[in-house]
Subunit: 239 residues, 4 copies
């Protein structure tokens, strides 16, 4: 399975704290643990030509992982649209943390995708609410992160097809932290944690969830619907 | 609309604290504010003949509100089954707090309906996660209860048809506090708050939610499906 | 409740058959039966300034009914966007027949909204699959239309929040004909029938469904979420 | 992965037509193609001691396939209850055709599971309505069966977590033919076709769906929730 990890890669260049936590970039860290799990993994970033997302790269990508935050608006509209179409055609999409506000996710959801937030070192507990879901494979009942940015409800998304995780935050909020959506032939997994100033993507349980999410999101040769004008049954098959 | 409020009515007889908070019983308090909202309201309790749920009472009930806790096992199987059938036939059901473990709710859900709990005066914040839902009419973004019993995930229910509220608890837990389910022609609303030692059902916002829930759960003359052997189309209507 | 019925209103001007069936336009027929049901109803059409959807009109509209077919592309992008925002803010939306391809519906769904179709006088049977839903009030088990345009699966929409009707077509297809979606504070009902060359909107059962749909889609004073930076609990309420 | 195929195995003993189509029983045919797909497969039938479903067998079963029709009532209550509990604990369940009326499925659904039916050699077209779902792997847009028993809506089940297939029948009906449900840690797939007098389980596409369903239903080491009384966060981890 071929996985492309896309990252804005700006905080890492501009902020020493972030660069210290992720010396190879957030994409580098994520690509490394996905590679160790056996995926054929590459990376792509905002400042590459076509943001690293050429037609060839997208055509060869089974699952795209997306991290962005401060430069959503710099993603070109035609590329965002192309990524969306590729999802509808069956590419899996794992949307991380502040990518809730990415053009691609907002186009696919049809809502504002807005939320509450706070950068105050809140303790976070990510509770499993669907213990049948393969994305929870290998986990305990919850994941605890000592410090993270808070995201709070209301999270303006469509009701998810599946709700897997709900987060508790020390400061008084809850958040639907892990949710799946299907759009066309594409499967989408949103997973909340991962503010750039915390070492969240080095956490083994978080890595496990993202790895499980990539596995889940991959399309496995499902049918390609056809659309448009159709003859009635009698003309299709002479049985 | 005719509403029947059912209550186990045992804590009120055995515990002075509870009797002090609910001198007319939990059912009395709930029936009173529903009556004020314009519903034709009656009550029924465990120790009445047939638990107060005769065929006539059930036939005349549009929405049944259910509170129970320590005596779930004393509810007779045939009456629990009769109530379940009446829900499938279109009676609305509002399931409160510890009634998550009632025979009727468990039969309708098909799961254990188990959960975590703690009696430790946790502060609770009940967050609205579906601000389009009529059950949230007249509310703000959350309801805060200074002290309540904690209920925590995993709550072993089927994925709700609609998730409306998620609770935050001071001690570190979250809970899917307001959820709807449809079974047959019946609409079911589960709402978490209401431990007997707290004055929760005197809270105006909680009353609003229960009132909205009763309104939502009422069936409004929807079709009665028929089942069994059927002739093909050509014999039904002359093509 | 204030309802605005929007119609492209082109077929009626250009095609005698359509003009014969709907001498006051499809919007005129729909507005008339909604008015009879007690709604405060107005109409708006494509060729009016701002397509008849000024800020004032939208602000005063509780539920918008939308019919369009051949001129989706003539709807201005900024107006489609404005309508979408108004839905997220709580305006109900009833999307009829070929409006599956309208800009507003596609923006809200995030998918292609494509489907199969055939104009061949197929008999259609619209089966109720959710007999608990208020949109089915007053109906029987199915609605039969002697002749209609066929729409067939796959219908490229997100999994609906609720699936209410499934259509059977004589020529061999099925279609998810009645489905609800919630986006932000807005409630959306898609209902399939209504090709312009058939008298479908004169059918009393179809009128009943659309009337029920308008009633269901209206937002009833639900909470307005706030978004952005938040202080922790301790700073919000000094309890 | 270990799969147990359970069959009532009565029609095969009493009806020559059925015995001719399934000389090794319906269970034999299903077990054979699942074995060929690489599963470790065994069978169990009604007339064996404990219906072939001893504690050991259930403990070792990852996915149980269930076919029953005329002898649902002969399945002992305690065994049906034990199977249900095992599903809640994570055993996958694939429910075929007339097993919609099995004790196990009805207990897990909480509804009557009733439907319409006709034995009249209707042509059936099973349309894919969710082309992202792994259960559709390797299929085309629909499966056509020349002759089958008709099942028609309303099918009295809870709204499925996922709706994958909808059937069209020649005689005028539709049916939600492929649907998934999650209960506890268990995943359930209901798949409609397979009346005993037709060679449906010899059809390669039907075999593909059942094989995909078994793969999908298997639980993969997801968390085991704990329930009951809990201490608050401060006592669990030193804040």
């Amino acid at each position: 399975m071929k996985v492309t990890v896309w990252n804005e890669n700006r905080h890492e260049k501009q902020n020493e704290t972030v660069a210290g936590i992720y010396p190879n970039g957030i994409h580098g860290t994520i690509a490394a643990f996905l590679h160790e799990s056996g995926f054929d993994t590459r990376t792509a970033t905002l400042d590459e030509p076509e943001h690293g997302l050429t037609d060839d790269v997208l055509a060869e990508t089974d699952v795209l992982v997306w991290w962005g935050h401060k430069a959503h608006e710099e993603v070109k509209d035609d590329i965002a649209e192309k990524v969306k179409q590729r999802v509808l055609d069956g590419m899996g999409l794992v949307v991380l943390h502040s990518a809730h506000f990415s053009k691609v996710f907002k186009k696919l959801m049809g809502t504002s995708c807005d939320l509450k937030w706070r950068e105050a070192d809140d303790r976070e507990r990510i509770w499993v609410v669907d213990p049948s879901h393969p994305i929870t494979e290998g986990l305990g009942e919850f994941i605890e992160l000592e410090k993270e940015e808070m995201y709070g409800e209301h999270f303006d998304i469509p009701a998810p097809d599946e709700l897997i995780f709900v987060s508790w935050f020390e400061g008084g909020e809850v958040f639907r932290s892990g949710a799946t959506f299907k759009r066309g032939k594409g499967k989408i997994f949103y997973f909340r944690p991962g503010h750039e100033t915390y070492p969240t993507y080095h956490n083994k349980e978080i890595q496990r969830v993202i790895t499980n999410g990539v596995n889940w999101a991959a399309n496995r040769n499902t049918p390609s619907p056809t659309y448009g004008n159709r003859k009635p049954l009698e003309n299709i098959s002479d049985k």
